[in-house]
């Protein structure tokens, strides 16, 4: 229901064909293009239902950790400690599993740990008004050190019961549990960010912190919540990865950090206003996952994969910038 209100002078026009559209659909078109190219080059191994399901499981870790990054970026901050947090979450889960604790605790303890540490990080940033970029980098270093101390620097794999591997390896009706967990989390956080007042306040702070403050929003509290959620999701990612692998390495989650932000930035190019958003992040992670999957099937060496993936991200950013400047 749109209401036309007193349009006596020239109303602002909605432009239907412009570079703006390109910024909204450019990434999507590129995504479809990538799928088409891989399907043509390798119809027998890439373009199969099995491989598609496989991809959803492969990207589930990246999607979950990137949801956290999306939330922190929605309040216009960065959390660079998510990789280290995932590593920590993984070793906590594996260590607990190895000492025979039930699966539910092995997931719950890392989640609560991530939530708590994230909240502390957020409090430092909002209370002392220090840069999140540097603070979370330092926090990541602290967590990394702690993880090494905790593990003695070695991989935890002995005495891990099969029950712990249940979540990471089971399929329900042909669909991996990991993929289902990912979909549920995507839906939940999409709902929070787009339909709830919490998300509205996050975006308001990210859009204009001062105006949000004037409008009576408790900036510090909402930033703390954002960092807590990010820490929680990162730690959960690590725990799920440990369950998938049946082991945990003290730097096992570190590699997610850059890809998570790549996914968020790709996702920001999907919608016109260019803000971090959950569905966009899912899409961005999917592109990164599909690229990795397809290039591996085509037996492209890893170093070349990195070059191609990096180039695609830069291209998407440029397209978005061109669209927004118009």
């Amino acid at each position: 229901m749109k209401l036309n209100i007193n349009t006596t002078t020239q109303p602002a026009k909605r432009v239907f064909f412009s570079k703006n559209m390109f910024s909204s659909y450019g990434t999507i078109i590129a995504g479809i293009g990538i799928i088409l190219i891989f399907s043509l080059l390798s119809p027998a191994s890439f373009a199969t239902l099995d491989n598609f399901i496989n991809i959803t499981r492969q990207i589930s870790f990246l999607v979950i950790i990137a949801i956290g990054a999306t939330i922190v970026m929605s309040v216009n901050e960065f959390d660079l400690s998510i990789g280290a947090m995932a590593s920590l979450g993984g070793v906590i889960a594996a260590k607990m599993a190895a000492s025979g604790l039930p699966l539910i605790l092995c997931l719950l303890v890392p989640i609560v740990t991530g939530l708590g540490i994230g909240f502390i990080t957020g409090s430092i940033i909002s209370k002392f008004k220090v840069l999140s970029f540097v603070t979370t980098l330092a926090m990541g270093t602290i967590l990394g050190g702690f993880t090494f101390w905790f593990t003695g620097g070695s991989t935890i794999f002995e005495n891990i019961p099969d029950s712990f591997k249940y979540i990471g390896t089971t399929n329900a009706a042909g669909i991996p549990l990991l993929s289902l967990i990912m979909l549920v989390l995507v839906f939940v956080f999409w709902f929070v960010m787009s339909q709830m007042s919490l998300g509205r306040r996050f975006y308001a702070i990210g859009g204009n912190e001062k105006a949000s403050q004037v409008s009576g929003i408790n900036i510090a509290m909402y930033k703390n919540i954002a960092f807590a959620l990010s820490g929680m999701l990162a730690a959960l990612t690590g725990a799920l990865l440990a369950s998938r692998l049946g082991s945990a390495h003290p730097t096992g989650g570190d590699g997610f950090f850059l890809n998570a932000y790549a996914a968020v930035f790709l996702g920001m190019t999907v919608i016109k206003s260019g803000v971090p958003n959950i569905m966009g992040t899912l899409f961005g992670a999917a592109i990164i996952g599909i690229m990795a999957n397809g290039l591996t099937i085509l037996e492209i060496p890893t170093f070349m994969q990195n070059v191609i993936t990096g180039s695609i991200i830069i291209a998407a950013l440029i397209i978005q910038k061109l669209g927004r400047d118009s």
């Binding site: 602002a12 709830m196 308001a204």
Partner: protein, 503 residues
């Protein structure tokens, strides 16, 4: 031959005329002051002379030749330099490095290294020529404010400068430092450099100027010769010389005379507000006037809870407020319409709906979920009430005109159903119609028993809307006047007299 001749210069922004057909002549070696209230068009005029803005119509001639100045760089090439109110210096560079900021460093021929000795020599010659003795080896952060100003002036003398524009150069200087600057300005004049001097301080203007040009509301009111100058004359010219039209009907409802808000001896931590006391009654519009830098905005922010207090008390309906914060203020029924609309009031890329309901999000939320239907109904009601010119409620506010953006700000304020409006320059950069609508809206709110604080640097506007006027100067409230027979001169007299005493 005249150095600079300006003929029929006009500048329009959208539908607003910022400068209307200005004729002005600057002679070589004269000190020509430019005075006028805030918003009279001084800075617009300067920006056209220095190539920041292009005139909408009219003619600029430099040394007899018609010129088009397309950029500040082109203005500098002609020999026009401006010293802005805020310093254009790199504070951790030394004075020497800052001096050469716009100039190529002298190089040693052999290996392209910087020839520091040549730099020092050049700087020393320049200092001697202009009779300065600045500690150029120190970083600028160690310079006194006056030294920074002098360094900037010296820098403009690195190239041949024929016209120097000084924008409020004494604003941050002490009395002694100002004297130092004045003696230097006299020296520049003797060397044949023309100076356009902009200041609120009329004593300085009278003392220094060969001629004074007065701007009022974008028009040139008068250009006066040195022997004519007097403070009374300048003030009367600045206020347009005429008495403003008084609307005799009672503007607002003040029968109750109950104090809604009282502040006493307010002092902020940053000292921008040092001693403010006033009260706001139910059903009145209280005008707040002060020259730039008088602490008006800062005081509003302190009352609203955006700026930390050092001492002083705020009572809201006889209840003392401690640790004020925007959340508390909104809860108490107080809204702030900030001066900086883009920076402090609106989230530009968000929609009208998202902006309007931000402070009242709780009231349209059930179990944490935003009830979009309720929200849209509320927003559409306000859009109708304020006759907002927009396509629909989901249009980003960045696409609206300035006036309509300000309406969104007011609608947002009204939605939280306040008893007190703190309006800081609410009609800044809005069109005439919207300005009128905002006045009518506020008068109507006052009639309903709300209290309104109306900060404006437009004296005529203050007198037009206010029941009473509080005058700010140097962070203090210095007068509280009943606006029955007030004239612009009365208020300006107070401002300028106090400024002189402060010097």
């Amino acid at each position: 031959m005249n150095l600079l001749t300006i003929e029929k210069l006009t500048k329009q922004f959208g539908g607003n005329t910022a400068l209307n057909s200005i004729d002005l002549v600057i002679r070589p070696g004269e000190i020509h002051s430019l005075i006028g209230e805030n918003g009279a068009g001084k800075s617009t005029l300067i920006k056209m002379i220095t190539g920041v803005y292009q005139p909408s119509s009219g003619n600029i001639a430099w040394e007899g030749q018609t010129v088009q100045i397309n950029s500040p760089k082109e203005a500098q090439n002609l020999g026009i330099n401006v010293i802005h109110q805020d310093r254009q210096l790199v504070s951790y560079f030394t004075g020497l490095e800052n001096l050469f900021l716009n100039h190529p460093y002298p190089k040693k021929k052999a290996w392209f290294g910087i020839d520091w000795k040549a730099m020092k020599r050049e700087a020393q010659t320049l200092q001697e020529k202009w009779g300065m003795n600045l500690p150029l080896h120190l970083p600028v952060s160690a310079f006194a404010p006056a030294e920074r100003t002098l360094l900037e002036i010296l820098r403009t003398m690195m190239s041949e400068s024929k016209l120097l524009i000084l924008d409020e150069p004494t604003a941050s200087l002490t009395d002694k430092e100002s004297e130092l600057l004045f003696s230097f300005i006299e020296r520049l004049k003797l060397q044949g450099v023309a100076i356009i001097y902009i200041s609120h301080r009329l004593e300085e203007v009278i003392r220094l100027s060969d001629r004074v040009t007065v701007l009022t509301g974008g028009k040139l009111t008068a250009t006066l010769e040195q022997e004519q100058l007097s403070k009374e004359l300048l003030i009367s010219k600045m206020t347009g010389g005429q008495e403003i039209e008084r609307k005799k009907q009672p503007q607002t409802n003040r029968k109750n005379n109950e104090a809604l808000l009282k502040v006493r001896n307010l002092r902020t931590k940053d000292q921008t507000v040092s001693n403010v006391s006033f009260h706001l009654k139910k059903g009145e519009i209280l005008g707040v006037y002060g020259l730039a830098g008088s602490g008006r905005t800062e005081c509003m922010e302190a009352i609203y809870g955006l700026r930390k207090l050092e001492s002083g008390t705020i009572w809201y309906q006889n209840q003392e407020i401690t640790n004020a914060s925007p959340q508390k203020s909104l809860g108490n029924g107080m809204v702030l319409i900030p001066e900086n609309r883009h920076g402090d009031a609106l989230i530009m890329k968000n929609t009208i709906r998202e902006n309007m309901t931000l402070p009242i999000l709780k009231s349209v939320t059930k179990h944490g979920i935003v009830q979009r239907n309720i929200e849209i109904t509320k927003v559409q009601e306000e859009m109708k009430r304020f006759q907002l010119k927009a396509i629909h409620e989901d249009q980003p506010v960045s696409e609206l005109s300035g006036g309509n953006q300000q309406k969104v700000v007011f609608a947002k304020g009204l939605l939280s159903n306040p008893d007190i409006y703190l309006c800081d320059e609410p009609t800044q950069a809005v069109d005439v119609m919207t300005r009128l609508e905002i006045h009518l809206f506020l008068k109507d709110q006052a009639l309903q028993g709300k209290g309104i604080i109306y900060v404006s640097s437009d004296l005529h506007e203050i007198l037009e809307v206010s029941d009473r006027v509080v005058v700010f100067s140097e962070g203090k409230t210095v007068a509280e006047l009943d606006n029955a027979e007030l004239q612009p001169n009365d208020i300006l007299d107070i401002c300028y007299r106090l400024q002189k005493e402060a010097l």
